[in-house]
């Protein structure tokens, strides 16, 4: 179980997360939605342990551990997986080497025997087939020259291989056409299980047609301002984000509603 309490985080001295609370139980899939700049990616990076993000206050408990005390690689080995919004290209490192090194780093930590080259290839080829990746992608450099869709498939492949307990998907739908989106969503759905929680971060409701969440949260100005069931995603799609930002729970936003374009959104919400 993941329990985030009053999380404040900043990057380059700029405060992004301002008191975020969130609880995700084992086996649940939660969607985090929100407008650009609301802190969605910051949340993903902070959870994964990126050093350039500073946690200023708050806590993140994960299966009884203090997540924030662990370095990034420890979090990964313990079973946290971040599917990157922009997977990094690493020229000169073959995907096969990278995937095997990652799988074995995690297996060592879990006291499982490391996979040898034969076992690894068997395993990875089966998983690649499932996400529709051709074998040649094993022998190319990590993400180098991959299309947007190929990069995202590679992320889902890594997720499948690493078998995480908590998967954070950061805008995995961005840049995908509808076919690629379906393949990626199928890959994610296959991995749903009672032992695995997921945090699906997305700007659009589209992905949630395929990955149906248990709960939907709206992030605005660094806080969760609204939570609901899967139907909330549809409502957001139809009505935009402005109306949730105007709920009484967010006093700063209410003050902004006095004038200007935000005022129009209040009117819309009241209709």
């Amino acid at each position: 179980m993941l329990q985030i309490k009053d999380l404040h985080a900043s990057v380059d001295g700029k405060q992004i997360l301002r008191g975020l609370d969130l609880e995700v139980k084992s086996g649940e899939v939660h969607a985090i939605m929100g407008p650009n700049g609301s802190g969605k990616s910051t949340l993903a990076q902070v959870l994964a342990g990126r050093d350039s993000y500073t946690v200023d206050a708050g806590s993140v408990a994960w299966d009884g551990k203090d997540l924030l005390a662990l370095p990034a690689e420890e979090r990964a080995r313990e079973g946290l997986f971040l599917a990157f919004q922009y997977p990094v290209e690493i020229p000169g490192v073959s995907n096969a080497y990278f995937l095997k090194a990652a799988v074995n780093a995690v297996r060592r930590h879990r006291k499982l025997p490391e996979l040898d080259a034969m076992d690894f290839l068997k395993r990875v080829k089966a998983e690649m087939k499932a996400v529709g990746m051709r074998e040649e992608f094993l022998y190319r450099s990590v993400n180098e020259g991959f299309s947007g869709g190929e990069k995202k498939r590679n992320e889902v492949l890594q997720m499948a291989l690493l078998e995480p307990k908590l998967a954070v998907l950061d805008e995995t739908d961005s840049g995908l056409d509808i076919d690629a989106l379906r393949v990626v969503a199928d890959g994610v759905n296959r991995l749903r299980s009672p032992e695995r929680s997921m945090l699906v971060i997305t700007h659009y409701q589209r992905l949630l047609d395929y990955i149906v969440p248990d709960k939907v949260h709206v992030l605005s100005a660094g806080r969760i301002v609204h939570s609901g069931g899967p139907e909330l995603a549809l409502e957001l799609e139809q009505r935009g984000y402005a109306w949730v930002a105007e709920t009484p729970k967010a006093p700063a936003a209410a003050a902004r509603g006095q004038a200007g374009p935000a005022g129009a959104a209040v009117g819309e919400a009241a209709r």
């Binding site: 350039s52 990034a72 990094v88 690493i90 780093a105 080259a117």
Partner: protein, 445 residues
């Protein structure tokens, strides 16, 4: 007695015993060369080409004469066995402290008329051929002149018209005597359409050579005839106390190809001067380089590509990895002469700094005197990419492993340009052993 006087004295005592001493033309070249060196001395930073790499300190250094080779025979044998284990085929010429070691050498089958052997022997057997390839006292900087004066051996490779030596010709230079100095001179002549790959290895034997400063002052001259193809690779893995100076001087006739790979991993100070000149139309060259230095060590590559005729193509890529308080210098000059139309030249140098104290000096220099040309150059100096590092760590790789992996990946881009797989593997292995935990990276390539 000043340092220069020491060298003059050494020349006077040794002149009569140097190989080919009785050849008048050679005696004359040597005399002019020692006079030039006496006149110029070691290059100092006042000379533009040595601005970042003064050799003035060599004036304070005394080098001893090499020990008899049998004192180190067992260690040498072991070193050669080790080298040949990975790559048993090919032709092997081994020199210990600059002296040809027939017992450690092995020549494979050669095409009819081809000569691969020690220079000392060629001077006795075919002095006219050697004379045409030997070079003059005025070539290169003053250390090259000192080499011309004192060189007594090295490799002689002569390839007749349209001959192809399929397997690499390995030249191994072992430094066995601590505090010793040697001046190998390698001459490679390829007649029209001939092809060969020559690999120079510079290694120190453990023991004496590893603790006391040694000097290697090598010269390699390449003459590529029309349409000849010569690939040259140099793997410098001298001891941490060694001073390594090398001049590689190529002259290319029409339609020829000269590829140079310079891998510099050892020595306290290494300086490589690499020059190729297009003496006819349609020549091609690749100058590929990789260096890795740490501690307080220093490596410098000075290259020059002379596009003297039309339709020449040159590609130059140098990569440096610098750790500790090391310093890496790259100065690459490309000269496009008037009339050298449709020249296509690309040059790039990338440096990876692994520590805040490391320093890279990258100086790309284009001199273009023709107008219908395509020339590009670029230089970067950077650190391990933070985003890549995080990506790897987020997949469970610890930071040290991730850093090494990215460093190695940076190097492998240079290694990828080495066409022959065994040479590429050898080069990859030699960079892996320099990285802590590098053995983890074994299956990468």
């Amino acid at each position: 007695m000043s340092d220069i006087d020491t060298w003059l004295a050494s020349f006077r005592t040794r002149a009569a015993t140097l190989s080919g001493a009785r050849l008048p033309w050679l005696a004359a070249v040597r005399q002019r060369a020692i006079e030039r060196f006496a006149d110029e001395g070691w290059p100092t930073s006042r000379i533009e080409a040595f601005r970042h790499t003064s050799l003035a300190f060599l004036a304070q250094q005394r080098f001893v004469a090499a020990q008899p080779a049998d004192a180190t025979a067992a260690a040498a044998q072991q070193a050669i066995a080790q080298l040949r284990r990975d790559d048993p085929e090919g032709h092997w010429l081994v020199f210990v402290d600059g002296v040809f070691a027939p017992a450690l050498s092995e020549q494979g089958d050669l095409p009819a008329g081809a000569q691969v052997g020690p220079l000392s022997q060629a001077l006795a057997q075919s002095p006219e051929q050697v004379e045409a390839a030997f070079g003059s006292a005025g070539d290169g900087a003053s250390p090259a002149a000192l080499n011309a004066a004192l060189a007594t051996d090295g490799a002689w490779v002569w390839l007749p018209r349209a001959s192809a030596v399929e397997l690499p010709i390995h030249l191994v230079f072992l430094t066995a005597t601590g505090g010793g100095a040697c001046h190998p001179r390698n001459l490679i002549v390829a007649e029209a359409g001939a092809q060969a790959t020559v690999v120079e290895h510079y290694l120190a034997l453990a023991g004496d050579a590893a603790d006391a400063a040694t000097l290697t002052n090598a010269v390699t001259r390449v003459q590529a005839g029309p349409d000849a193809r010569i690939t040259h690779m140099k793997l410098q893995q001298e001891s941490a106390q060694a001073i390594h100076l090398a001049t590689i001087d190529a002259a290319q006739a029409r339609g020829s190809t000269f590829d140079s790979h310079s891998l510099s991993f050892g020595a306290r100070l290494a300086r490589n001067d690499i020059v190729t000149r297009f003496d006819g139309e349609g020549c091609e060259t690749l100058l590929n380089g990789l260096f890795h230095v740490d501690g307080r060590r220093h490596v410098d590559h000075h290259t020059r590509i002379e596009h003297a005729h039309p339709r020449g193509t040159s590609r130059e890529f140098y990569r440096g990895i610098l750790d500790g308080a090391a310093r890496g210098v790259f100065a690459g000059r490309i000269v496009v002469a008037p009339g050298a139309m449709r020249t296509d030249a690309q040059q790039r140098t990338d440096n990876l700094l692994l520590s805040p104290q490391a320093e890279a000096d990258a100086r790309p220099e284009l001199e273009i005197y023709a107008d219908d040309v395509k020339c590009a150059h670029g230089a970067t100096v950077g650190q391990i990419d933070e985003a890549s590092l995080f990506y790897l760590r987020s997949r469970g790789l610890d930071e040290a492993h991730a850093r090494n992996l990215l460093t190695y990946a940076f190097a492998t881009e240079a290694l990828a340009r080495i066409g022959l797989a065994p040479l590429r593997r050898r080069a990859a292995a030699s960079i892996r052993v320099r990285l802590p935990g590098g053995e983890l990276l074994g299956e990468l390539s």
